[in-house]
C-alpha cells in the first residue's frame, strides 16, 4: 500500500524551510529583480500552505509529527506537529499567503524591497518555528530570532520616528528576552527537562518544596512571553511599532509576533507548569487579572486615539489578552475560547490592518476625522473593514462572537463570573471606538485632500491590496457561520481540548 503524503516525517521541517529558503535566496537578489523575488515569495507561501494542509490531514487522522536535530549534547532543535501547534501554524501560513499578495502591491513603489521581503520571510520562519517548537529550548531560539528579524521591518522607512520606534521595540523585547532566557535555563536546571508536555512537566511536590524558586521561574518566563503578547505593563512597544509598513503591522504586529507571545503564555501555563500546578500556585489568577486589566485599559486607551493604526494597535493589545485570559481559566470551555480567539483575532485584525493600509496608501487618509466619504470611494474595502470591526465588537455571526461566547461560558464554569463583566465592558468599549470610524466613513462628506480622488483603475484601488482584505473578511464571517464544522477553528480547538487538553 502506498503511504499517504501526510505520512512524511519531514513535514515540520518542510514547513519551516518553505519560508526560510526563499528568505535567504531573496537576500542575494538585486533590487530590480522584482519578478524573481515575487515568484520566490509566492512559491514559498503556497508551498507552506500545502505542507500545512498535509499535516492537518495527518493530525486529523491521528498522526503526530516529530523532527529533531541535536545542537548540544542533550539539547535539540525539536519540531513537533500536534493539534495545538497546527492551530497556530495554519493561521500563520494562510495569512502569510494573503499578506504576501498584499505586500507585493503595497511595497510596489517603496525602496529596499529586497531587504523587506527577506526579513519578512525570516519572521514567518521564526513564527512557524515557535508554533512547532517541541521544547522550551527550541521555542527560545525561534522566539529570540523573531525579535531581531522583525527589527529591520520596524525601522524600514528609516525616518527618525521609525528609528526611535525600533529602539523602543528592541528595549522591550530584548530586555524581556534576556529574562526569558534566564528563566528558560533556570527551568531546565530546576526541573531537569525543557520538554513541552500536555498537562505540564512540573512536579507538584517539587513546587511545595521550593515555592519561591518556582514562582520566580514562572515570573521570568511570563515576562518573556508577556512582552510579545503585550500584556500590561509591558505592552508599550506595540503602538509605537505601528510606524512599520502596513503589511508588517498587519501580519506581524497583529498576528505573528503578538501571537508568538500569546502562544508562549499557553505553553507556559499548559505545557510547562500545567494548569493545575499554575492554579494551585495562584498564578493563573495573576495572569487572568493582568489580562483582564489589559483588556479594559487598552480599550480605554484606544478610545483616546485619532490615528487609525494606533486605534487598531491598542485594540490588538486588548484583544490579545482574551487569549491569555481564556487559557488561564480552569475550565475547558474557557480554554477553547482562548485558543479559538488566537485564530479569530488574527483573521479579523489582519483585515482591519489591510483596510487601514490600503486606505492610507490610496487616499492618504490616516485619521478617524478624515474618513468621511471613504465608504463611497472604496466600498469593498469599507465592507471588509465593517465586517471585521463588527466581529471585534462581538456581533454574531462574525468570528469574534464565537470567542466571546466560549470565554463567557468558560468563565461561568470556572467560577469566575466577574470575567463576564470584563467581556461586556470590553465589547462596549470596542463599539465605542469602532462605530465612530464606521459612522464617519459611511455618513460624513468626502474630504477634499485625497491623494487619489477618483478611481482611474476599474477597481477602487490596487486589486492586490483589496482582494486580501476581502478574503480575510470573508474568512472572519465563514469561521463564525460554519463554526460547528470539524474543520473550523472552533472545531479544531475543541479537538485539541478533547485530545487530552493542552
Amino acid at each position: 500500500m502506498v503511504s499517504p503524503l501526510w505520512a512524511w516525517d519531514g513535514l515540520p521541517l518542510a514547513v519551516v524551510l518553505s519560508s526560510f529558503v526563499p528568505g535567504v535566496l531573496i537576500m542575494f537578489l538585486r533590487e530590480e529583480q522584482t519578478l524573481l523575488r515575487n515568484t520566490l515569495n509566492m512559491t514559498g507561501a503556497l508551498a507552506k500552505v500545502g505542507f500545512v494542509g498535509l499535516m492537518l490531514q495527518g493530525v486529523a487522522a491521528g498522526a503526530s509529527y516529530e523532527w529533531a536535530f541535536e545542537i548540544l549534547p542533550g539539547l535539540e532543535l525539536s519540531l513537533a506537529g500536534d493539534a495545538l501547534a497546527l492551530l497556530f501554524v495554519t493561521l500563520s501560513a494562510v495569512l502569510w499567503l494573503v499578506t504576501t499578495v498584499y505586500a507585493i502591491g503595497y511595497m510596489e513603489a517603496s525602496r529596499n524591497r529586497t531587504r523587506f521581503f527577506a526579513f519578512f520571510s525570516l519572521c514567518v520562519t521564526a513564527t512557524t518555528g515557535i508554533a512547532m517548537a517541541g521544547d522550551l529550548f527550541t521555542f527560545v531560539i525561534f522566539y529570540e530570532a523573531l525579535t531581531w528579524a522583525t527589527y529591520p521591518l520596524v525601522v524600514h522607512s528609516g525616518t527618525p520616528e521609525a528609528i526611535r520606534a525600533g529602539r523602543t521595540y528592541l528595549a522591550y523585547t530584548l530586555g524581556a528576552g534576556a529574562i526569558l532566557v534566564v528563566g528558560a535555563v533556570g527551568f531546565e536546571v530546576t526541573t531537569g527537562t525543557v520538554a513541552f508536555a500536555a498537562g505540564g512537566v512540573v512536579d507538584p511536590m517539587a513546587v511545595e518544596a521550593e515555592p519561591i524558586r518556582y514562582l520566580l521561574l514562572f515570573l521570568c518566563l511570563l515576562v518573556g512571553m508577556g512582552v510579545k503578547s503585550a500584556i500590561f505593563p509591558i505592552h508599550g512597544w506595540l503602538p509605537t511599532a505601528m510606524v512599520a509598513p502596513a503589511p508588517v503591522s498587519a501580519l506581524l504586529h497583529a498576528v505573528a509576533v503578538v501571537k508568538a507571545g500569546a502562544f508562549g503564555v499557553i505553553r507556559l501555563i499548559h505545557s510547562l507548569f500545567g494548569i493545575e500546578v499554575s492554579w494551585e500556585m495562584g498564578l493563573t489568577t495573576l495572569v487572568a487579572v493582568l489580562a483582564s486589566f489589559t483588556i479594559i485599559y487598552a480599550s480605554v486607551r484606544a478610545l483616546a486615539q485619532t490615528d487609525i493604526k494606533r486605534i487598531l494597535a491598542f485594540s490588538t493589545v486588548s484583544q490579545l489578552s482574551y487569549i491569555a485570559l481564556g487559557v488561564a481559566l480552569l475550565d475547558p470551555l474557557a480554554q477553547v475560547g482562548g485558543l479559538v480567539h488566537l485564530v479569530h483575532q488574527g483573521i479579523m485584525k489582519i483585515t482591519l490592518f489591510f483596510c487601514a493600509g490600503v486606505i492610507a496608501q490610496t487616499l492618504g487618509v490616516k485619521t478617524v476625522g478624515a474618513m468621511g466619504g471613504v465608504a463611497r470611494r472604496m466600498p469593498l474595502t469599507m465592507a471588509a473593514f465593517t465586517v471585521a470591526a463588527l466581529g471585534m465588537i462581538g456581533l454574531p455571526p462574525v468570528a469574534g462572537f464565537i470567542s466571546k461566547w466560549y470565554l463567557g461560558l468558560g468563565a461561568l464554569g470556572a467560577g469566575a463570573p466577574w470575567v463576564i463583566l470584563v467581556l461586556l465592558a470590553s465589547s462596549l468599549l470596542n463599539a465605542a471606538y469602532f462605530l465612530p470610524i464606521l459612522r464617519t466613513a459611511y455618513f460624513d462628506e468626502p474630504s477634499e485632500s485625497w491623494s487619489d480622488p477618483w478611481p482611474h483603475h476599474r477597481l477602487e484601488a490596487d486589486w492586490r491590496m483589496v482582494l486580501p482584505a476581502v478574503i480575510t473578511a470573508a474568512l472572519s464571517l465563514a469561521v463564525g457561520v460554519f463554526a460547528a464544522s470539524d474543520w473550523s477553528p472552533l472545531g479544531w480547538a475543541l479537538l485539541i481540548v478533547e485530545r487530552g487538553g493542552l
Binding site: 541535536e70 525579535t147 530586555g175 532566557v181 536546571v189
Partner: protein, 495 residues
C-alpha cells in the same frame, strides 16, 4: 609516525616554513606562504581533531624525535579546539590580507611606506600563527614561555605595520605590556622550577603545587597573563593597539592573540594548580564582570568604528573569566557546562570578532576613514560586509542562532547549577549592552539611503572572508555537538 606526531609536525612546521617563504618580497612567494600556512594549519588541526577523538588526550614528541632534542607536546581536546578555530580564522584572514594589501607586483608600491605593511604582514603573521599553535600544544612551562614571547613580539610588530604615529605608539605600548607580562610569567616559572625541579605541566600537576612559593608563582603568572589578555583593569593598552593595526591584523589580535594568554591561564589554574584557590577564582570572575560592564560602556561611547570593536573585545573577554568561578563551584568538583560554555564563548568570540573587524575593515577601506559618521550609508554598497557585521554582532550578543547563544546557555546553566546568582545577572546584562553597541554601528551604516560618494571599491574576497567567518559563528550555533565533545576530551583536568 603516529597521527599525533605527523599532524602536530604539520601544524607547527607548516606555518613556520611558510613564514620563511614569505620573507621573500616576491608577491608570488608571499601568496604561496599564506596558502601553505593556511593549508597546513587546517589539515593539521583536522588530523589532530580526529586523532584526539579516536585515541584520547596524550603526551607526544614533536616530529617523533626523542630526548634530549625532542620537544614534548601535550595534545588534548581544549588545545585542538583552539588550534582548529585558529586555523579557520587564520585561513580566512589570510585570504583577506592577500587582497587588503593590494597589488604588490609594482616595485614602487613595495618600496612605499604602505608597502612595508604589505611586505612584512605575511611573514610576521605566519610566525605568530606558529607561536599560537605551539602554545596550544605545549607540554611544559618553558616551551609556553618561548612561544608566548614569539607571539608577543610578532603581535606588537603587526600593530606597527599600520603607517601612522598612533599605531607606532600603540604598538610600542603593547610591546612593553607584553614584555612585562612575559617577565612576570618567567618569574613564576623560575619559582616553580626552584621549588619542584620540573617544568612539565603534567609533572607539576602530579605534585599538586601548594604553599607560599607556588602561590606567589601563580599570582605572578596570572598578573602577567591577565595583562596580556587585557583583563580589566589591565585593558588600557588593547583598544589603541587593536584599533591601530591594519584590518587583518586587528582581526588576528582581537580574535586569536588574546586567546593565547587566556589558554595559558586556564592551563595554569585548572590543569596545573587543580583550581588554585576559590578566592582567586572569584576574584578573576569579578574582574571579568567588571570587564563586561566597563568595556561595554566604553564601547558605547566610542566615535571610531575600530575602537568600538576593540572595546567590545575587552568586554567579551570578561565572559571568559566569569567561567573561572563557575568551573569549580566547590573544591573537588568541576562543572562541565561551565567548561564547555566558557570555551564555546571563547571560540565564538574568535569567529565573530574576526568577522566584525574584517567587515569594519571593508567599510573603512571603502570610505578611507574610521569615524562612525563617515560610514553612513555604506551598508547599501557593502551589503555583505554589513551582513557579516550584523551576524557577528548577533553571536557576540548571544542571540540565537549563534555560537554565542549556545555558549551563554551553557554558562547560564552552570551558574544555575552552582547557584551563583550574581553571575546570571552579569551574563544577561552584558548581552543587552552588546546589542546596544552593535546596533550603534549598524545604525550609522544604514544612516543614509545613498551610498557615500567617494567610495573605493572593495575586493569581493574581502567581503567573502568576513561573511564566511560570520556564517561559521552562526553554523556553530546550529551544531555545536562535535565541538563540545572535543572540548570534553581531557577536560580541564587532563591528568
Amino acid at each position: 609516525m603516529t597521527p599525533f606526531e605527523l599532524w602536530s609536525t604539520v601544524v607547527i612546521f607548516g606555518p613556520l616554513l611558510a613564514s620563511v617563504v614569505a620573507l621573500s618580497a616576491r608577491p608570488a612567494l608571499l601568496r604561496a606562504g599564506l596558502v601553505l600556512g593556511s593549508l597546513s594549519a587546517l589539515v593539521g588541526s583536522a588530523g589532530l581533531w580526529r586523532a584526539v577523538i579516536l585515541y584520547g588526550p596524550g603526551r607526544h614528541l614533536l616530529g617523533g624525535w626523542g630526548q634530549p632534542l625532542g620537544i614534548e607536546l601535550w595534545i588534548d581536546g581544549f588545545g585542538v579546539a583552539m588550534l582548529a578555530v585558529t586555523a579557520l580564522v587564520g585561513a580566512l584572514t589570510s585570504l583577506y590580507a592577500n587582497s587588503y594589501f593590494g597589488d604588490l607586483s609594482e616595485l614602487s608600491v613595495r618600496e612605499s611606506p604602505a608597502g612595508r605593511g604589505a611586505r612584512f604582514f605575511a611573514p610576521l603573521w605566519l610566525l605568530l600563527w606558529t607561536a599560537l599553535n605551539g602554545i596550544y600544544l605545549s607540554a611544559d612551562l618553558f616551551n609556553l614561555y618561548v612561544t608566548l614571547e614569539i607571539l608577543g613580539l610578532s603581535a606588537a610588530a603587526i600593530v606597527t605595520l599600520a603607517v601612522s604615529r598612533q599605531a607606532t605608539v600603540a604598538g610600542m605600548r603593547y610591546l612593553l605590556v607584553s614584555l612585562i607580562g612575559s617577565l612576570l610569567y618567567l618569574l613564576g616559572v623560575a619559582l616553580l622550577y626552584v621549588q619542584y625541579g620540573t617544568l612539565s605541566l603534567e609533572g607539576l600537576a602530579a605534585i599538586g603545587p601548594s604553599g607560599p612559593i607556588p602561590a606567589i608563582a601563580l599570582a605572578a603568572m596570572t598578573v602577567g597573563m591577565a595583562a596580556k589578555t587585557a583583563l580589566f583593569p589591565f585593558h588600557a593598552w588593547l583598544p589603541p593597539a587593536h584599533a591601530g593595526a591594519p584590518a587583518p591584523g586587528s582581526a588576528i589580535l582581537s580574535a586569536l592573540v588574546v586567546k593565547g594568554s587566556f589558554f595559558i591561564l586556564v592551563r595554569l589554574w585548572f590543569s596545573v594548580y587543580g583550581g588554585g584557590s576559590p578566592e582567586g577564582l572569584v576574584l578573576l570572575g569579578v574582574l571579568g564582570s567588571g570587564a563586561i560592564l566597563w568595556g561595554s560602556v566604553l564601547a558605547l561611547r566610542q566615535v571610531s568604528l575600530k575602537r568600538l570593536i576593540a572595546y567590545s573585545t575587552v568586554a567579551q573577554l570578561g565572559y571568559l573569566f566569569v567561567m573561572f568561578p563557575l568551573l569549580i563551584p566547590e573544591p573537588g568538583l568541576w562543572n562541565a557546562d561551565a567548561w564547555t560554555g566558557g570555551l564555546l564563548l571563547a571560540i565564538s568570540h574568535a569567529l565573530a570578532k574576526a568577522a566584525m573587524f574584517l567587515a569594519a575593515g571593508n567599510m573603512s577601506y571603502a570610505v578611507a576613514q574610521d569615524r562612525l559618521t563617515a560610514i553612513s550609508g555604506v551598508a547599501h554598497r557593502l551589503p555583505m560586509s554589513f551582513f557579516a557585521f550584523g551576524v557577528g554582532g548577533l553571536s557576540l550578543a548571544g542571540l540565537p542562532p549563534s555560537a554565542g547563544f549556545v555558549g551563554k546557555w551553557l554558562l547560564l546553566r552552570s551558574a544555575f547549577e552552582t547557584a551563583h546568582w550574581i553571575w546570571i545577572a552579569v551574563i544577561a546584562v552584558g548581552g543587552l549592552l552588546t546589542i546596544a553597541y552593535v546596533l550603534k554601528v549598524l545604525r550609522y551604516a544604514l544612516d543614509r539611503d545613498e551610498a557615500p560618494e567617494d567610495f573605493r571599491p572593495v575586493p569581493r574576497r574581502m567581503e567573502w572572508a568576513a561573511a564566511l567567518l560570520a556564517l561559521a559563528a552562526m553554523a556553530l550555533g546550529v551544531r555545536a555537538l562535535e565541538l563540545v565533545e572535543l572540548l570534553l576530551v581531557g577536560g580541564p583536568f587532563p591528568w
